[in-house]
Symmetry: C2
């Protein structure tokens, strides 16, 4: 197994420098930091756990790094996580990656420099040197709702396959054949899982497989509106749209109203992954998969508390429910 000496040698820095970087000190140059982190990642360096925890005093603080704090799913999740953490005697410091992998790395660095007992993480995409260093430091970590392929940490997240199945069944029950799908980035596990489940299930539910009815945004309203607009440009008719998360659905509604006018837009039924406060007030009301952000936040904290105490934390997929708000027989 690689030692800190191996990391220092590979990075071409002094042992003390490698040690400072890996313990998250800010007293290091950007250059030596990136070299040490890259070397640690390449060598799969794992810090000596027991020795580290002797050195690290408990702070009763957990870190929570969310993807986008303006996404109601994550603000609800953050709220629930913090309430649960307080039950266990922890406070939670939040950081917002804004769906930006570089920004997520900056916050991993911040958390390394601060003193936290464990990290709840909703990642952007792949393993970065900074994430590798965080994992190597032995800091207890759980993934919330999104995971990174190949990283051995428990995931507490939505059952995306089940949620998409509920949407497909609802679309069929409403008699829709021509359905537009606005997904999220394939680099984010929730985006990839929801798209895969939709593609796998649509034919069995009698849904048009024309690829021009598929597009993807950035899981934010702006990118989703552009994706919806591109689908409209193809001039393939559709009677329903499925938005792959809450902010995506917001962008979908905006684009439809802007391009078609409120009246024609209201003739298209919309269904969403994630249920937002205002869906019941939209016309027509928007049906949605209820993604249980509160349970995910609470279970994630319990899992992290278990890890910190040296107990196993197996991770869990949280079931979704479906809010059917379809008006009786409009068409």
């Amino acid at each position: 197994m690689a030692t800190i000496k191996d990391v220092a040698a590979r990075a071409g820095v002094a042992l003390g420098t490698a040690s400072r970087v890996l313990s998250g000190s800010s007293q290091t140059s950007a250059d030596s930091r990136s070299r040490v982190l890259a070397a640690a990642a390449e060598l799969g360096y794992i810090a000596n756990g027991p020795a580290r925890s002797l050195r690290r005093a408990r702070t009763d603080v957990l870190g929570l790094l969310v993807s986008d704090i303006r996404n109601p799913f994550f603000s609800e999740l953050a709220h629930a996580a913090e309430q649960e953490a307080r039950h266990h005697g922890y406070t939670v410091l939040l950081a917002n990656a804004n769906e930006d992998a570089e920004q997520a790395d900056a916050y991993l660095q911040t958390f390394a420099g601060q003193r936290i007992d464990g990290l709840l993480f909703s990642p952007q995409s792949t393993v970065s040197p900074q994430l590798a260093a965080t994992l190597a430091s032995g800091l207890p970590l759980v993934f919330l709702n999104r995971r990174i392929e190949g990283v051995d940490a428990p995931l507490y997240g939505t059952d995306n396959a089940q949620g998409v199945e509920q949407v497909l069944a609802w679309l069929r029950s409403r008699g829709h054949h021509d359905v537009a799908f606005v997904g999220g980035p394939d680099t984010i596990s929730t985006g990839a899982e929801r798209r895969a489940a939709y593609l796998a299930g649509r034919q069995a539910h009698g849904i048009n497989t024309d690829e021009r009815l598929l597009d993807a945004g950035d899981f934010l309203a702006g990118g989703a509106a552009e994706a919806m607009s591109r689908i409209l440009d193809h001039d393939v008719p559709f009677t329903a749209v499925f938005g792959a998360n809450g902010l995506t659905t917001l962008g979908v509604v905006r684009a439809l109203r802007e391009r078609l006018g409120a009246e024609r837009a209201a003739r298209i039924e919309i269904v969403s992954f994630d249920d937002l406060d205002w869906f019941e007030f939209a016309s027509p009301p928007i049906s949605a998969v209820r993604n249980d952000a509160s349970s995910i936040g609470r279970l994630g904290v319990r899992g992290l508390v278990d890890l910190i105490a040296g107990r196993p934390a197996p991770g869990r997929r949280v079931p979704t429910t479906f809010a059917d708000r379809a008006l009786p027989a409009v068409r």
Copy 2:
């Protein structure tokens, strides 16, 4: 001026204990902590600034303590603050008080124990011993949107009087005489300022002054729905409702639809302080004061960066705009 020795004497603890408490160490008992903090608050203890900053290494981390992360105003503000902070080379750690003064205190304690260079704070109500200790520690601090009477820190916040004036002018232009007002807690400065401006201006704008049309919630949807329900119980007719923040308006819409049904509810015009994503989709659309959360977040960070650098930060009221979504002559 009170010294740390005076604080220790008043609290009846050893000098080292007082020093540990005031530097935010967790190695102190709850009892000695509360005694030291109370003594520091009573004596108006101010830490020796230069000596402290010599001791305190820069961490390039700012703390941001918001009132409720599920309130879109604060999640937008947090997002903008963090983007601006990154321009200045800082990362931001967020904490959520959940509109709970005790929880706010717990986070002030957490930030004291962590290492931050300055604090952006949206407070709940009054000066607590923990806030007194934070102020006494000499940590640079600015208030965001809400302030505490008597605390000498710059405020970056909404111009509430201007926003309410825009609502009153709009209500008059729409011909409303009987208007229900659902406010927020008077213990929060934004709640108190909006209510005061409404009470001061309503007569001049020809609005019914019947006190049964006034109630207040907790600035969350649940409490606002209850307040709206109490107003309905009085059976005083009204043609419009003014909700004093975004989540209040959500609660108002829910209560009206639940009590009156969607059709009768749609005959009441709603106007809100805070503009939310979905207001344009409501039927009828909801007009709103645009509370510029992004500017407040950005200006607050710039003010805090100035304070950290020893420059003056005068605070600022940020102007509101008004989104008029009234449909032409419904009545």
